[in-house]
Symmetry: C2
């Protein structure tokens, strides 16, 4: 089935290789695993923090996962795979890491990687892995069988499909989606997370890195992922990518909007961000403009409204955060919440009790097609 | 340089293989070559029409290119390459055509293909071509070196970048772009066509099939192509793809909008089309809505207006066509023209004498970022 092509199950216990990046933005894959699946982490390898535990180094992590300095020390914590959990500049394996990988392969560990450059295409590593009988799994490798979007997703009329979208790239769309699924399940709903990026895929154990798919087929892959998730779930929560406002990534964003055909949107926003990620020419746009753009674009396939805004208030104290959320609500007329501070319950409340006036307004807009 | 990775020059003389599709929509690559580069066609291979000439079979073609029944007959017209000029359902080589290809390779012809499945990845054909010392060129194969969009295209402040966009897919965006370049050159302007699909690439001798590029890099490739074309031209005319209204292709459309960062748009429309191509759930949308959507989307990177509408009136007589064009102009307030009937001169006129009020309106909109 789509998204199972990687063969990484939910039971893998990782030694997380993040040498030099544990306190860095490039370590965000490691941060995601430590926050959302700490039981799947045997140990973290970053010599700079060896001897401490992850909870003491990474904000938002409560697990007391040991940090080690060498592969040998990591093996003592009985991992089943090494996770190359960084996105270094250029997307390639730092040369100094090659010995870490060979040492892990020698110890019989599979190697799972979220890097842009595929480990299995490296002849040196591939031959060693084959000889030792372990697997090199590149999480961003797309499935072989992909096709064009067909619109079959529009036949799902009794499901709620929630897509997280952003005012910029790297603004918390995966986190909001995961928190929302947790909160939906706590509310007794059958909900499933659809992972569309490398970290989400490692967390969920399935999915497709949609931005790595051939352009023509991105929307088709998004549709297939939703159809699969909808088989056992009334709520399908799709991890968004990029931002309609970000010229380098907007096509991936739109492929998810038009391929997944959401019934509801959750907008993610970081008010501390001034300019777009890696694209300093442009400032982060006004939220009202962003909301209008997403609602108009999704209207080409199915009307959907922004039902909530997930705001990152990590840089603020509790009172200032509450004030900011109130201000965002006032400006947009949409419930605003910090899902890291407060969880996803309030978003679930907004989705479950959606204002009929807002939905019928959206339907009316869709009808002018 | 980007777009030169295929190594097909402008001097190739093709034997055009279109067996069974010459009068069919799947033969549209052959139609494009016959209409826009008939000097590059030695002969056409379609046994059903053998003995006639292309002008008698394909509407809009004036060249008296011979149609033959066999490769041997085609060779008598001294081609330098075989062009596999169809897009069969499924995108793969029809099994019966394999013998055509072997016969051409035996005769020392290169084989150039616009199909989705790459000939060079077929071991049988690849080994024969290697043995005979001829090349298998897959026009849709993307370049190896691609990167993210950077926004450098926005530094081109003294160029006009025109992107053709559509109310649906397969609606004449390449044709409008080529006619526009012809008309700009006739008006004494330095203009260059940027090919983004297989037929345009064969016509221009360079380019990239943008929808075949990894999603992340589509916008970056569009940007690179524009930067290259702008080196020797004041006018860069970019072939659009898909339609913002077509859920299966809209992400490719947006990659071109945000990667090429046009200064002007030309909208292509076929009023005889009722529903979207291969997506019958949706009707072709209202033109005013389409224009608004394109102008709002391009506004994320650079303000641009729809300066003209290229309408296909092939199904109408001259008077009915003129009435239709007037009606489209009345509804949209934008000059409408049939570029196949009348050429691109009127579009050039609209672009050269653009209404300052319309442009300043667009600038104002862009400024609300």
């Amino acid at each position: 089935m789509i998204g199972d092509h990687l063969g990484i199950g939910p039971d893998t216990r990782y030694l997380v290789l993040v040498d030099g990046y544990l306190d860095d933005l490039h370590g965000k894959m490691a941060h995601g695993i430590l926050r959302f699946r700490p039981d799947g982490v045997a140990a973290v390898l970053d010599p700079r923090f060896a001897g401490r535990v992850a909870a003491d180094v990474v904000p938002g992590v409560s697990a007391r996962v040991p940090i080690v300095a060498t592969i040998a020390e990591g093996l003592a914590h009985t991992p089943t795979a090494l996770l190359v959990a960084v996105t270094p500049a250029g997307g390639r394996l730092p040369p100094a890491w090659r010995s870490y990988l060979h040492e892990s392969i020698d110890a019989g560990l599979d190697v799972v990687s979220g890097m842009h450059a595929f480990l299995a295409d490296d002849p040196d590593l591939a031959s060693h892995a084959a000889q030792r009988g372990v697997r090199l799994v590149d999480v961003r490798r797309p499935p072989e069988e992909v096709g064009l979007a067909t619109g079959r997703v529009l036949d799902l009329v009794d499901r709620r499909i929630v897509l997280t979208v952003g005012s910029d790239a790297a603004v918390g769309k995966m986190t909001a989606g995961l928190r929302l699924v947790e909160a939906l399940r706590e509310a007794g709903e059958a909900a499933r997370f659809v992972a569309t990026g490398q970290t989400g895929i490692v967390l969920a154990g399935w999915g497709v890195a949609v931005d790595r798919v051939i352009g023509d087929f991105m929307a088709g892959v998004a549709e297939e992922l939703v159809l699969r998730a909808a088989e056992d779930s009334n709520w399908v929560v799709v991890e968004g990518q990029g931002s309609i406002a970000h010229p380098a990534f907007s096509s991936v964003t739109l492929a998810l909007l038009h391929g997944a055909a959401p019934t509801d949107l959750v907008l993610c926003h970081d008010p501390a961000r001034q300019t777009l990620t890696d694209y300093e020419r442009f400032v982060v746009p006004d939220l009202a403009r962003v909301i209008r753009a997403y609602e108009e674009l999704t209207g080409w396939v199915r009307p959907a409204r922004v039902q909530g805004i997930a705001v990152n208030t990590a840089h603020l104290g509790p009172d200032a955060a509450a004030d900011l959320l109130k201000r965002v609500e006032g400006e947009t007329g949409v419930p605003a919440v910090d899902v890291v501070r407060d969880g996803g319950a309030r978003l679930v409340g907004a989705l479950l009790s959606e204002d009929p006036a807002r939905r019928s307004d959206a339907s009316r807009r869709g009808a002018d097609r």
